[in-house]
Structures are given as structure tokens and as C-alpha cells.
Amino acid sequence: MEARGLQKTYSVSRGVFGGHAALRAVDGVDFKVAANHVFSLVGESGCGKSTVARLLLRLTNPTGGQVLHKGSDVFALKGDDLKAFRRSVQIIFQDPFASLNPRRTVYETLSEPMKIHGLADKSAFPDRVRDLLKTVGMVDVMDRYPHEFSGGQRQRICIARALAVSPEVIVADEPLSSLDVSIQAQILNLLIELKETTGLAFVFISHDLRVVRYLSDFVGVMYLGKIVERAPAVELFDSPLHPYTEVLLAAAPELVPGRKKEPPLQGEVPSPLDMPSGCPFHPRCPKVFEPCSRITPELRGDAPRAVACHLHNAY
């Protein structure tokens, strides 16, 4: 799966007399994710992560750019091709309760996508559902309803539902953030097992850097709709290049008693309606210098690393 120059602009009302303004939720995002790999998007609230997820799934149309799945433009798909795409790319959401129908049993929830996509014979559904549930570590729950389960169990059911149609790509938008730490770790173990045994490609969205470091092969750091740094996970965490990546890493709490460092950054994330000139990060950047407020740095570098910063790329 690939995003190329992906853009999404919303038109939002500026209040009673303000008319409309363009909000650039996603502003030129590029990345690729291959089978058997996890690509993670990290960044602070509102930077556009969920919008990217919705675009990848063709749940909303882009203002510009493309999403490619196995080489074809996702937004040009029709008929059987579109149906095959809908099967092949699945999503897991943050809130496992809101995304399950409370009036359907686990069996109904898991067999429905098989029915829609005409996978296998109806008589094979019960066995298939049982297998799926076993994959996510649940047994004897087919006739029960969502409210009978804990958050972690519901998230397992959502994962099983995504797996029901044998997808190739799973987009997971903050799948752990509503869960307790011990349950998070159980689900995280499950995701890693799935990655290792199924060859799935994952796009994993999170603001938890510990989880991202643990799980990802490649990482894209987003700030105000743009990817400001993209790198193999190990390199990103060992030697961040973009000042924003450095700040994020320094701010994330670690399990090291007494490491009381100073928060490296002041101020808030600016509103995407009030985008700074030049580099979007320059008003908060500890390393800001002359060109930053004038020229927007491009995401450049030798693959697989790329950074959008004048410190690293001659402008």
C-alpha cells in the first residue's frame, strides 16, 4: 500500500461572520508499507493521523494525491475491483465498543463479512468463526453479545472481524489507547504474532512512542498534516534527525526512576487553520534559524530515511 502526495483539505466555518476557511488536515503525505511490515504514524492530537487512515480505506476522498494498493489507484476502483479492495484492507478502531453492533452476537458479527464477501460456504462459517476466535485467544463466546465483554476482549473481537475476510492490509487507528496496560500488552503480543504468522501489512497509528518503537519497522512522524521525518524504527529512535522527533522522544516518559528532564518544548501545537509560514514547526522549534520562517522544507533524504528540515537538507 502506498500514499503519494496525499492531501485532504476541509472547509470549515469561521464562525458567524467569518465565512469559510480551508483546514489542511493532511498536506502532502508519502509513505509505503509492504507485506509483513508495520508502518507507524505518530504525532500529536490533530496532526492528521486519522484522516490518513480514512483516506487509505477510501472512507473519504482526497483533495489531492493518490493511494495505491498493489499498484492501482484506490480512488479509481470500481465494481469487483472495489469490492476486492474493500475486502483486502481492513480497519481496527480505537473504541472497540462503539465499533461493534450491540445487538449482534459474536458469531453474527464475525460471519457477516464472510457472507458479504461470499467467502466460503455457509456451512463452513461456524468452523471459520471458531478458528478466528482461537487466533485472537478466545473460546466458547460465539453466542454472546458485546456488552458481556471487557474492553480488551471487545478489541480482540474487532481484530477477529478484521481478519475474517483474510485481508492483506490492516489499518489500526489507536487500537490500544482505550485499554489498560496489561490488556494493551496482551493485544500487542497478539498483533506481533499476527504480523509474524500471516504476512499482513500494518499501518499502525498511535501517539504512544513506547508502543511504536516496540512494534514498528518504519515510522512516519507527523506534524500539522505533514510527515516531517520518516525512517526505519530503530534508526528513528536511536538517532532522530528532525527537532520535533527529538522533542517527542524526550517528552515520552520512560521506566527510569528519577530521570527528571526538562520538557524541551514550550507552547501548543498551532491550529491547522492558522498555519505558520515556512516550516510548520518553526514557532516551537528549539533549533530555529534564518530560513525556517520563510521556506517550507521538503521531505528529502536517501531512502529509507527522509527528513523535512533545513538543518539537514540544503535549501
Binding site: S182, K260, P263
Partner: protein, 342 residues
């Protein structure tokens, strides 16, 4: 010396005789939510309270402030500066609450009044507790926000809560909480809704208040990383009980309760090392296993664990009861050598 000491604090939920639909037990009985908590919060230090959702952290905090939800009743002793808060009459309590002890709540939006300007809400707290003029209170509100790094505070005080970002709202809550320089600040998950960079700013502020003003802080969180970096002492809560308490460095170096070990094993650290989380899930308060409440999820449980609930006993070599654990296997501590199941 300790500023606040809790002795055998228990919180029970009395159920109405007719509420046949509520889970567990027979109608008219009560459900135990928090059981026999004993802890001391020293002066001028950050005390971390950690544990998973529903273990009773917020109820414990609310009981200190005497604002438990309806139907909940606290027993035991909560001594603050020599006075038992549980026995204090409401009139006296009102002068303590928000003044000597104050709290930042889990949900900043629901605890700010949406129809009042934020400046007014801060001034209201000041006027209630301090003998200052309206003008002085207004001035204090602005300087508090400035101290909390809110840009152009003169303008912000004239705005309504919905006009502020989540991080700013949280700091307005903080301003209200520290307006009267309390000796104890209770911060209940103060950063859960915040981005990491804003979270780091807020935590630095808490440390600064401790260092500059000698304020004590009860810092409630489920993030052990936040505890590690900000607290001096930490208590781990499970199913309404304290299961371990220790100086922070000691807890991370040599945890002495299998639940703590499981929590630490749940935090992703080194890539490629498999996480070792606690299995299963937290039991409901009315479905606790017999004996040790953690025994049904514990990899090291023995028969004796289901026989009786272990005492909260001193362990390790910190001395003076500073490291305690509620487990009968602390002598052989089988979790120490990575030799998993018993």
C-alpha cells in the same frame, strides 16, 4: 513527617434494598470498593498511586476530599495535619477543601463550568478562601496563568472553556487547584487527555510546585513511566487494595509483588523481547477470588494463596516499613530469576 496519613481506609457502596438488578450479592448488602488502605504522604513530596482502571484510585482521592459519590461510605482514618478528615463536619471541611487540599480532576472539560469565563472561575476559588479584594483576585488569576505558561493570560481569562485547547483547560484547572497554595494537591490522571509535549510541561510544573512551595502531591496515574520520573514514593493498587508500596527506585529495581512485576512486564521496552503481561483481567469488586485477590491471575500462586488474604508486610531492606508488599511469596520471590511458573 507525614502530611496525610491514611489508616485502614475502606469504602463501601451501600445498595438500595430494591435494586435487584445491580450485580452480585444480595439486595441490601454493600459492596466493598476500597479495602483497608494504609499509606503516608510525606511533606513536600510526590506520592504516586498507580493501578489499572477501576481499582479504586479516584474513589480514594474523593474520600480525602469528602466528596464520595452517593451511596459510598468511607471508614477508617484519614489524618491531615493532625485532624481526621473522615470525622470533620461539612462546614469545617469546606474551609479545607480547595484551600489546604485541592484536586485536579480526570476530566478537565466536565469540571469547568462551560458558561463562565475561565478568569471568573479562578477568581471564585480565590475569593472563597482568601481575604483579598476582587481586583486582587483578578490580578492573581492572570499571574497564575502566566506562571503556568499560558500565552497572553490577560486575554485568556476573558474566554470560555470551549475556546481553549485541552492542554490549556487542564492548566486552568491547575490554576484553580493551586490558587490558594494548598499543602496537598491531588492530581487524578492530570495528563491523560494531553499530548506528550504538553504532558511534560504540566509534570514539570508539578515538580516545581513541590520544590519551590513544598507542596505535597498525590499523583494518580496508570502510567508507570510518569511515576518513575516524577514521584518519590509509589503505591500500586489492585482490586481496591494496596498490593505494594516502595520508594520509586526500589520498586523499579526490585518489585516485590507479582502484580507489580506483571505491570512492569506490560510496558513495551526492548524491541524483540516478548512482553510478559498479567494474564486475564481485573475481577469485578463483587467477584473477587478467595484469599489473595490477585491469586486467579498470578503465575506464582500456590494453594495457600487462596486460603487467606496476605498481610501488607514490610519487605526488602529499605527499613522503616517503607517497602511493603501483600504477598506470601516474598521470601523466595520466584519472579526475580525469570523462572516463570511455580
Amino acid at each position: 513527617m507525614s502530611l496525610l496519613s491514611m489508616r485502614d481506609l475502606s469504602i463501601n457502596l451501600a445498595r438500595a434494598p430494591s435494586s435487584g438488578k445491580s450485580p452480585g450479592g444480595s439486595a441490601g448488602s454493600s459492596i466493598n470498593m476500597v479495602n483497608s488502605l494504609t499509606l503516608d504522604i510525606p511533606e513536600g513530596s510526590v506520592f504516586g498511586l498507580a493501578g489499572e482502571s477501576g481499582c479504586g484510585k479516584s474513589l480514594t482521592a474523593l474520600s480525602i476530599l469528602g466528596i464520595l459519590p452517593r451511596g459510598m461510605h468511607a471508614t477508617g482514618e484519614v489524618t491531615f495535619k493532625g485532624r481526621d478528615l473522615l470525622k470533620m463536619d461539612e462546614k469545617t471541611f469546606r474551609s479545607v477543601r480547595g484551600h489546604e487540599i485541592s484536586m485536579v480532576f480526570q476530566e478537565p472539560m466536565t469540571s469547568l463550568n462551560p458558561v463562565l469565563k475561565v478568569g471568573y472561575q479562578i477568581e471564585e476559588v480565590i475569593n472563597t478562601h482568601l481575604a483579598v479584594s476582587k481586583k486582587e483576585a483578578a490580578h492573581m488569576a492572570v499571574s497564575l496563568l502566566r506562571e503556568l505558561n499560558i500565552p497572553s493570560p490577560e486575554q485568556r481569562v476573558r474566554e470560555y472553556p470551549h475556546q481553549l485547547s485541552g492542554g490549556m483547560r487542564q492548566r486552568v484547572m491547575m490554576a484553580m487547584a493551586i490558587a490558594c497554595s494548598p499543602s496537598l494537591l491531588i492530581a487524578d490522571e492530570p495528563t491523560t487527555a494531553l499530548d506528550v509535549t504538553i504532558e511534560a510541561q504540566l509534570l514539570r510544573m508539578i515538580r516545581r510546585l513541590r520544590d519551590d512551595k513544598g507542596m505535597s502531591v498525590l499523583l494518580i496515574t496508570h502510567d508507570l513511566g510518569i511515576i518513575a520520573e516524577n514521584a518519590e514514593t509509589v503505591a500500586i493498587m489492585y482490586a481496591g487494595r494496596l498490593v505494594e508500596q516502595a520508594p520509586v527506585a526500589e520498586l523499579f529495581r526490585a518489585p516485590m509483588h507479582p502484580y507489580t512485576v506483571g505491570l512492569l512486564g506490560s510496558v513495551p521496552a526492548q524491541r524483540g523481547t516478548k512482553l510478559k503481561p498479567v494474564r486475564g483481567m481485573v475481577p469485578k469488586p463483587w467477584e473477587l477470588p478467595a484469599g489473595c485477590t490477585f491469586s486467579d491471575r498470578c503465575d506464582f500462586a500456590q494453594e495457600a494463596c487462596s486460603a487467606a488474604e496476605p498481610e501488607f508486610m514490610e519487605v526488602g531492606d529499605s527499613g522503616a516499613g517503607r517497602h511493603r508488599s501483600r504477598c506470601i511469596r516474598t521470601d523466595d520471590a520466584p519472579w526475580r530469576n525469570g523462572n516463570n511458573k511455580s
